[in-house]
């Protein structure tokens, strides 16, 4: 009833080819964007901006990047955090060394640097597949942070190798409060997400999916495997690089290369899997789930123990959190291996029939 696309006739190719061909989808996306841009700043507190919304948006972007590579092009990577590190450090250095460069251009160049590195580490994918490739991308994961720490030029010779991001100023307007930073990140993420949505249905995106489903078959029908895979690596790393730059500039402020470790890569892979492999929406859902879950677990466990007055041994909550998190991940994978995006899809089908299911 609510979500019925019958009766929506398209009379031109343009109408048929738009990004969200169904009216309800268009309305929902617009409403969501409007809410995020106007509604959220009105109600959210600083805590929400800095501690939840900011990491959520930044990780969404990184997840999107990995999802393009893993979900659409079928190339498993465990080096996401390293590409983020490249983006962050590159953006910092462009900002530092090129006088008067606009910060958005720095972000772009940071992303492009990450893309270049991504292509380099994507080259082995032409020969290696599956888990062998995944473990091979670990080479990037260990090599890049090492290099960034080792060559002190990257951190402008700071004693500890930590980089402190420059203030974000665009056309004289300083993005210095949590709300402003949030809005900046939101706009960047929204634009890039829509671009990704468009890309995956384009010729490139279809080529990715063909390679993912069966590369031999794809090459038989005339898709250039090498080009397709490398483009996937480039685009994916670009997204991760921009995410890394935002991570440094808008979220943490100062970062150390060692912070972009394997754990972060795994966390982003979790977001892809939980959100839904090969789904743009899923990237956001997955990022929200993995960002919120540990925080909620801790808050709930702390509150429950405070309310009931049970004296737990110190550290119990922290460990219980780990146990519950692990168990929930397994539970989730067993019950819904296709991720949150699949749940959403089921929900949409239900809405189509509601309130008269048969």
């Amino acid at each position: 009833m609510l979500y019925r696309e019958s009766g929506q006739f398209k009379t031109s190719y343009a109408a048929d080819q738009q990004l969200f061909p169904i009216l309800q989808d268009r309305a929902a996306v617009l409403a969501l964007l409007a809410f995020a841009l106007v509604g959220v700043p009105l109600v959210a507190t600083d805590y929400w901006f800095t501690a939840i919304l900011m990491p959520f948006l930044v990780f969404s972007l990184a997840t999107l990047g990995l999802n393009i590579l893993t979900g659409y092009a079928g190339q498993l990577s465990l080096g996401t955090a390293a590409f983020m590190a490249v983006g962050a450090v590159a953006a910092y250095n462009f900002q530092l060394r090129v006088p008067g460069i606009p910060i958005l251009v720095s972000f772009m160049l940071g992303g492009l640097s990450a893309a270049a590195v991504g292509v380099l580490f994507g080259l082995p994918s032409l020969r290696i597949k599956g888990f062998y490739l995944a473990v091979a991308t670990l080479a990037a994961q260990f090599f890049i942070p090492w290099l960034l720490v080792k060559v002190s030029w990257f951190s402008n010779h700071s004693a500890s190798g930590v980089i402190t991001a420059q203030p974000v100023v665009i056309a004289g307007f300083a993005f210095d409060t949590p709300v402003r930073k949030y809005l900046l990140v939101l706009v960047i993420v929204a634009v890039m997400a829509l671009a990704a949505k468009n890309m995956v249905r384009s010729r490139v995106g279809r080529a990715w999916m063909a390679v993912r489903d069966m590369d031999v078959a794809a090459s038989v029908i005339g898709i250039r495997i090498m080009q397709t895979k490398l483009i996937a690596f480039a685009v994916s790393s670009f997204y991760c690089g921009v995410a890394g730059a935002l991570y440094a500039f808008a979220y943490l402020g100062s970062v150390e290369p060692d912070g972009f470790n394997l754990d972060l890569s795994f966390r982003i892979l979790f977001m892809v899997i939980i959100g839904g492999v090969g789904s743009i929406l899923g990237s956001f859902l997955g990022a929200a789930f993995i960002t919120l879950l540990p925080i909620l677990l801790e808050v709930i466990l702390t509150d429950v123990t405070a309310m009931t007055g049970i004296a737990l041994p110190p550290g119990f909550i922290s460990m219980a959190q780990l146990v519950v998190f692990g168990a929930l991940i397994i539970f989730f994978l067993i019950v819904e291996p296709h991720g949150l995006a699949r749940l959403w899809q089921i929900g949409k089908e239900k809405l189509r029939l509601w309130p008269f299911p048969h």
């Binding site: 507190t45 600083d46 805590y47 929400w48 800095t50 501690a51 939840i52 990491p55 090492w146 720490v149 004693a159 500890s160 190798g161 930590v162 402190t164 979220y251 943490l252 402020g253 100062s254 970062v255 150390e256 060692d258 912070g259 754990d263 789930f289 919120l292 879950l293 540990p294 925080i295 909620l296 801790e298 808050v299 709930i300 702390t302 509150d303 405070a306 004296a311 041994p313 110190p314 550290g315 909550i317 922290s318 460990m319 959190q321 780990l322 929930l328 539970f331 989730f332 067993i334 019950v335 819904e336 949150l340 749940l343």
Partner: protein, 439 residues
């Protein structure tokens, strides 16, 4: 399967609903709330458990014994950071909203988290106390008014270790021509002592070789074979986590005497030596505080807290890191007490606590009155010097416990001060900060 799926949907919906209530309950009013960004899981969980165990035990003791600070009860909440920078930021943001007076002062216990919340703390007016870690140049309070590397910093440690080695060699003059290896954790933390040690090597004429150990450092065959070939007189161990124990074990493997190894204070706790077993016997480490239970304050905690079943893990009492956590809590509490002198006997805000720390003076008499005796050096913080002590003391592992092996001593404080001011000035220029003391 269908019911499971419903459970899952319910779970997701429940989480979404619960999320909208974040952050939950506020702390009860009228208490001095202390926010703790701690960690008790993960690779450094054992270190965190000891440090934050001592920290909370001391706070509990103050409430039990004195009824709080001048009648103002202490309350606290610990948030698990897992030693992860992003989680540290989340914890910091959560804790800062928990009470009208803020989280008093934050002890990040992680250099990475210190860096990540440094700017935020300035805007939020929350003091950071970094006891023996974090930014070394923050000792210059004119540039970093909100950061307090209380007691001593890494450069004090590095020069202190050189001085100690000099004494063992029979005077600093004898260091000339000696060979010293710095075996360090290949990270931001491990790179901290490089500039100051290089300066010392040039000044005193010893040969310095720096060998990095890649994270996590559970395999050091190649590093120690290089050391064996190089045949240094001394090895300085700048380790963290499993790296320290492995270094001691591998030193034994290649037959390097542990009596010629000096660690810094993050490589000098029971956690590092117990894991290495007999291989650790004879090893020296610089320390910020003495280990052991022989201090009145420890007895107070045992009587007032553990006897009532309110303590943490009794096994940790008196260990190096537990004592350090307790010292950190004491400094926080004394800063609150100092602030109360000026601003009245009620919960004090971060800004007031900052004043309290900056004017904190704990001489030997006061330390004794607090029950710490010689566990800590006398402390006098000022705007110029946010460290307040700069002294280190050496302990030696006997195979069962850490025994004091020196008096409180100061390294090359002139050199350290000069380098701190240079580094701080560079930071001030980068950030556009005008150095100066608040009145």
């Amino acid at each position: 399967m269908q019911t499971w799926k419903r459970t899952l949907i319910g779970l997701v919906a429940g989480l979404a609903a619960a999320a909208s209530t974040l952050p939950a309950s506020a702390q009860q009013a009228g208490t001095q709330f202390i926010g703790i960004t701690g960690y008790r899981v993960g690779p450094y969980g054992a270190n965190g458990a000891a440090f934050f165990g001592g920290f909370t035990d001391y706070l509990a003791m103050i409430n039990e014994r004195d009824g709080g600070v001048n009648g103002v009860k202490l309350s606290w909440e610990e948030c698990e950071t897992e030693y992860n920078n992003a989680k540290g930021v989340e914890c910091y943001e959560r804790l800062k909203t928990k009470s009208a007076t803020g989280p008093t002062a934050i002890h990040p216990m992680s250099t990475g988290i210190t860096y990540a919340i440094l700017d935020k703390a300035v805007t939020d007016k929350i003091p950071l106390i970094t006891l023996g870690y974090g930014r070394t140049d923050a000792t210059d309070g004119r540039v970093f008014p909100w950061v307090f590397p209380i007691l001593s910093n890494y450069w004090d440690a590095a020069t202190g270790i050189v001085k100690f080695i000099g004494e063992k060699e029979g005077g600093a003059a004898n260091l000339k021509g000696k060979k010293i290896v710095l075996l360090y954790h290949d990270s931001a933390y491990g790179k901290e002592p490089h500039p100051v040690l290089e300066a010392e090597a040039k000044k005193l004429g010893f040969e310095l070789k720096m060998i990095p150990v890649p994270h996590p450092g559970n395999e050091q065959q190649s590093q120690w074979l290089q050391i064996r070939q190089y045949q240094p007189n001394w090895v300085i161990l700048w380790g963290w986590g499993v790296m320290s124990a492995t270094a001691l074990q591998t030193a034994q493997k290649v037959g390097f005497p542990r009596e010629k190894m000096v660690g810094n204070w993050w490589a000098g706790s029971e956690i590092d030596t117990v894991a290495a077993g007999p291989a650790a016997t004879g090893y020296y480490a610089a320390s910020l505080n003495l280990a052991g239970k022989g201090f009145p304050v420890v007895k107070d905690i045992e009587d007032k807290v553990y006897a009532k079943g309110k303590g943490g893990d009794a096994k940790l009492v008196g260990t190096v890191l537990w004592n350090r956590g307790m010292a950190a809590a004491m400094i926080t509490v004394e800063a609150v007490r100092k602030a109360q002198e000026k601003y009245g006997k009620k919960p004090v805000s971060g800004e007031q606590v900052r004043w309290g720390i900056e004017n904190l003076k704990l001489d030997a008499g006061r330390m004794k009155a607090l029950g710490f005796n010689t566990m800590l050096p006398p402390l006098e913080v000022s705007c110029q010097d946010h460290g307040g002590s700069g002294q280190v003391r050496f302990q030696q592992w006997t195979g069962t416990e850490w025994k004091s092996a020196s008096d409180w001593m100061r390294g090359d404080s002139v050199l350290v001060r000069k380098m701190i001011e240079e580094s701080a000035a560079k930071y001030a220029a980068e950030k556009g900060i005008k150095p100066g003391c608040a009145s």
